[in-house]
């Protein structure tokens, strides 16, 4: 099954989802991007260049780790983790960003813009822009700027300009809108590095293509290390790029179950979550350039979303997943904020792993299900990002008194220096 093998007149559509819903002024820009992407995808040298870049710059292939302790403690399936946290800049975001960086060079553009939620995509984009010599502007919701200062610090020090977006909910969706506004003005010299498999065609396909490197590697590694393919594959889903990346390695195996793990926030019925497919609160709509399931009201205005993980705190989901949800190929579950905090403590203590809050959503569901499975079964979960960059958020989430005292002391020190 090639989900990107579109039928006539349905290019960019996955079932009824996807498409291009953009202002006319961007029509030529999207055409140009699509043409360039088609060339890149058809050119084996482009993929080779992409893989070499990630090997030499970002440490790919990232390893696969068997969680021996947790597998034993839970007494169920053998748990394997794909370690995309070990990429340069600390998450899978760099895969897509480096790919789009090469594509930006082919387009002959000199400036890149990007939206960011948790800051990982912005951080990766700023890094790429520094390496490739592009001007770089990152749009980030003001709420996210406040909760992810360390990433903002790095972006700025890497030479990017970070704009705190004050519109709307001041989170990821508002940063996307602001990128669109920049793009309709500056498209002549600017490429929009969209960070996830959402937005107008060809972004869902393009981002999925770059991220497919995760699944390609993981498939080979698990056969080598575990002796066979996994029974279930788990990944967190915000926009859905890391999950699309991992799942593509296994999607053609009908016996392997694929499970997308969304942000359940405060849980079912709370309306304070970002679960588009796992809960029943979302409906089909058109916004931000594409058609998919959105958390919206009856009149098509978007609802407030929530997650402890800024990178999952988003109204929509990639259109490929909306389709694979309808067909039943991917099952969607949600992990609540509380479950995420508990599981994070567990993976730290039992395995010495610090997954990002986003990635921990995948662990919650994977560990829950692994415990109910047989010892000779295998589950694979994507550790899409590392959590040590989230130290402020995690310390808050864990309500760590010693950390608070430390920050209090730092604050006193800065205040004294100011005087």
């Amino acid at each position: 099954m090639d989900i990107f093998d579109f039928s006539d007149g349905r290019e960019g559509y996955y079932g009824e989802y996807g498409g291009v819903f953009l202002p006319e002024i961007l029509h030529a820009t999207i055409e140009e991007l699509l043409e360039c992407f088609r060339e890149c995808k058809a050119d084996p040298k482009f993929w080779q260049e992409y893989v070499a870049l990630l090997q030499n710059y970002s440490g790919r292939p990232t390893p696969l780790t068997h969680l021996e302790n947790l597998s034993r403690e839970l007494g169920g399936a053998q748990i394997y983790v794909k370690r995309d946290d070990l990429n340069h800049t600390g998450s899978h975001k760099v895969n897509n960003v480096m790919g789009q960086g090469l594509l930006t060079q082919r387009l002959g553009k000199k400036r890149v813009i990007a939206e960011t939620g948790a800051g990982q995509h912005g951080f990766a984009t700023a890094t790429m822009a520094a390496k490739f010599g592009f001007d770089c502007k990152i749009y980030m919701g003001a709420v996210d700027v406040a909760r992810q200062r360390p990433n903002v610090f790095w972006m700025e020090n890497l030479g990017a300009e970070v704009i705190a977006v004050e519109d709307g909910q001041k989170t990821l969706k508002d940063a996307v809108n602001e990128c669109m506004r920049d793009w309709v003005t500056n498209m002549a010299d600017t490429h929009y590095i969209l960070g996830t498999a959402c937005g107008p065609h060809p972004f869902p396909e393009m981002v999925s293509w770059f991220q497919s490197i995760i699944g390609l590697e993981a498939r080979e590694q698990i056969i080598k290390q575990a002796g066979r393919l996994p029974d279930r594959v788990f990944a967190c889903v915000g926009g859905g790029s890391n999950a699309m990346g991992l799942f593509q390695g296994f999607i053609d195996e009908p016996n392997i179950e694929l499970i997308g793990c969304e942000a359940g926030g405060e849980g079912v019925g709370s309306y304070m979550h970002s679960a588009r497919l796992a809960y029943d609160d979302a409906s089909v709509g058109v916004a931000q350039g594409y058609k998919t399931y959105f958390l919206q009201n009856d009149e098509g205005n978007m609802n407030e979303t929530h997650s402890v993980a800024a990178g999952l705190d988003y109204i929509g989901v990639n259109p490929i997943f909306s389709h694979l949800h309808d067909t039943g190929r991917v099952r969607f579950e949600a992990a609540t904020d509380t479950e995420v905090k508990e599981t994070l403590k567990l993976t730290m203590r039992s395995e010495g792993l610090i997954p990002a809050l986003e990635s921990t959503h995948g662990f919650v569901v994977a560990l829950k299900e692994a415990a109910t499975m047989k010892k000779d079964e295998i589950v694979l979960v994507n550790m899409s990002g590392r959590g040590d960059k989230d130290i402020f958020t995690i310390a808050d989430a864990l309500d760590d008194a010693k950390w608070k005292a430390f920050i209090g002391g730092k604050a006193d020190q800065y205040r004294a220096e100011k005087k």
């Binding site: 029509h27 058109v286 916004a287």
Partner: protein, 255 residues
């Protein structure tokens, strides 16, 4: 009377028509009515009523704020249609729905057209709905004699303008420059060249919008465009100097 024939009729007495814009429910529906009354008095020919949307990604800062505040104060689609019905009955100008496609999509395209028709609207502008996605909606509109306003832009190739021209009904909205609504456009040869390129591909009247803010812009467009489209400049005036200011703004603009 449909949009195109209305424009033809009005053009008998005027060389440059004016389209104005309000965001429904911002600052309030009462204020909308006051603004619209001033627009009617000034002789504005067409008004676009923007239905607020939570993700107005084609709008500039002032309209973004207007959309957000309107929704915050509880504006509903029902209220927007009620306003449309009231003003189409009360004022001599024609009324268009302006907004984002999700508003129409969520209520259903057929319901959208029926409600628009029932409220006296003659057309709609949905800037995030490209013609490739608009087939069914345009068909429903044609059956109801409602006209979709298509946008032509400075980045549109001749090939693209030909496609847009073939789909155009009622009038075409020529976008004077790149970017979002609200900032100033330098009226010059580029704008004239754009209008001329648009004319080659469509027979319907052409309105020019984005950054039109004063009498000088009007004088520039006269003889080239059929209509000037005023958005942000009027809202800014209303915010800064209220009813008297807006009255003076349109008086000067249309002198």
């Amino acid at each position: 009377m449909g949009l195109q024939s209305f424009i033809a009729e009005r053009k008998k007495d005027k060389d440059l028509l004016v389209m104005a814009h309000v965001v429904c429910g911002y600052p309030s529906f009462e204020d909308n009515l006051k603004e619209l009354e001033i627009m009617a008095e000034a002789g504005v020919d067409i008004v676009e009523l923007q239905f607020p949307f939570s993700e107005p990604s084609a709008d500039g800062p002032l309209f973004v704020e207007a959309n957000e505040q309107s929704l915050k104060s509880g504006t509903t689609v029902d209220q927007c249609f009620e306003l449309m019905a009231e003003v189409s009955a009360r004022f001599p100008f024609k009324v268009l729905m302006m907004g984002y496609y999700n508003t129409a999509f969520k209520m259903g395209e057929d319901v959208f057209i029926q409600r628009l028709k029932a409220a006296g609207g003659v057309g709609f502008i949905l800037p995030d709905l490209p013609i490739e996605e608009a087939g069914n909606l345009h068909k429903l509109a044609a059956e109801a004699e409602i006209e979709p306003v298509i946008l032509m832009t400075p980045t549109s190739s001749d090939k693209r303008l030909a496609q847009l021209g073939a789909a155009s009904r009622g009038m075409v909205y020529a976008v004077a420059r790149k970017g979002v609504t609200g900032s100033k456009t330098n009226m010059g040869d580029d704008v004239v060249a754009l209008i001329e390129r648009c004319r080659k591909h469509t027979d319907v009247p052409i309105g020019v919008g984005f950054g039109i803010s004063d009498k000088q812009d009007m004088d520039f467009l006269r003889g080239h465009a059929d209509m000037a489209i005023i958005g942000t400049a009027a809202l800014k005036t209303w915010q800064q100097s209220g009813a008297d200011g807006l009255r003076a703004f349109f008086k000067d603009l249309m002198a």
